[in-house]
Amino acid sequence: MSEVAAHSGAREAPLPAWSLPKDAVDRIALPDDWPDRVTREWAFGGSTGAGVRVCILDSGVDGDHPSVGGLESAVAIELDERDEAVVEPDEEGDVSGHGTACAGIVRALAPDCRISSVRVLGAKFTGSGGVLLAGLRYAIEQGFDVINMSLSTTKKPFAVVLHELADSAYFRRTVLVASAHNMPVESYPWRFSSVISVGSHEETDPLAFYYNPSPPVEFFGRGVNVEVPWSDGRTLTVSGNSFATPHLSGICALILAQHPELTPFQLKSVLYLTATNVGGGK
């Protein structure tokens, strides 16, 4: 992988942003170790997600739940008296159980990944588009490899800023995995093409995922009758796209542990090539 990293150009002096001088062509040479046929074995065979940093942007995470197995960090986004978002260490944990469920799904798939929590909902589920935006901005600044966002907003005024944030994550090699809404309504950020948007399928295999040739939902993950950890050390059976999303986040962590050089575009390509209905079913 070290040779690949050197080829990726990520650790060298930056290339000019908008053009490619002749003498720089070698520096963007792609690693030649992509096989003729990308298989799941190549993509994430034997991977445990080791070292990959996954952020759960949600209701907080109960790090003590045995199915979560500890957190690397936990912060809460709150509004101060001037209605400006501030980042505080999270003393509250999970205010609903939803974030713990997402973290547990990721942990089950990628046991050695590093999970952090950014809480964007308050004790009475209070939250606002402003807090959601601030939380996402913070998570992108932390340089997480994967941000799981099983939340969306229906407020159109926030869409423009969310779009900018989603694009900025994309260019900074942070993969934003976002839940599609379960009802036919417009919400964001899952509708943006710079994110990996996820809906549900009904199968029980956590590694089964499908590419959707009719976007905006691009992938379907396991999202029905999923047993998950919840707050207070409990376990529940839940359904919804909220729970399909961390399945894809976990699979992204597995792939990135194996191939840390991948850009979000390349990662999405690997997901496509290894989807159950494309090449992963064999």
């Binding site: 009475k124 229906t154 207070d232 529940l236 919804g240």
Partner: protein, 203 residues
Amino acid sequence: MVGSEDSFRALLEAIVEVARSIFGARASSILLLDEETEELVFEAVVGEGEDRLLGTRFPAGTGIAGWVLATRTPLVIEDVQNDPRFARDVAEGTGYVPKGLMAAPLLHDEGALGVLSVLDRPEQTLFSLQEMELLGLFANQAAIAVDLLLKARKAEALLGDEQDDLGVVAKLASAVDALEGERRAAGVRLLDELATTLGARGT
């Protein structure tokens, strides 16, 4: 003009009755958000608790219904008894704690007006995506009915308040309505002109 509160409430009751029947559930309800008190109020209930729950309230920031309202996303949970905190909203006042619950937000424009809940589908049937879609369809229908109900309440409150400045509108409407023949037509023309002058026409 606006419809009556009774007819819209009957529509809500019909929706929860059909939802309960289609899903073979033990109970179904529609909760409405009272924005002033930040509470959820049972507006329509069928099945378990229907004789006690109607009109009762609980804080909007609690329970599964509260979560669904805040995140504007449906949620389906089995084994709710595992989590007494989340079952509290439906258990309070009834002593009935459901095992399973599906809830969807009543979405209108960019906001959520309330929550549609369906409690305890038959145990032998696993939840499926088809049911999620059906739940969403019922929730959309309920959202339209709730929107009409809220508009009717607002209009009635506005026109019925004698002390309110705009109570005069109701008086005018009643006065013109009581007229007959040419005098009535003249009264309608007068109101029409008034509306045009105030810029309330042609928009």
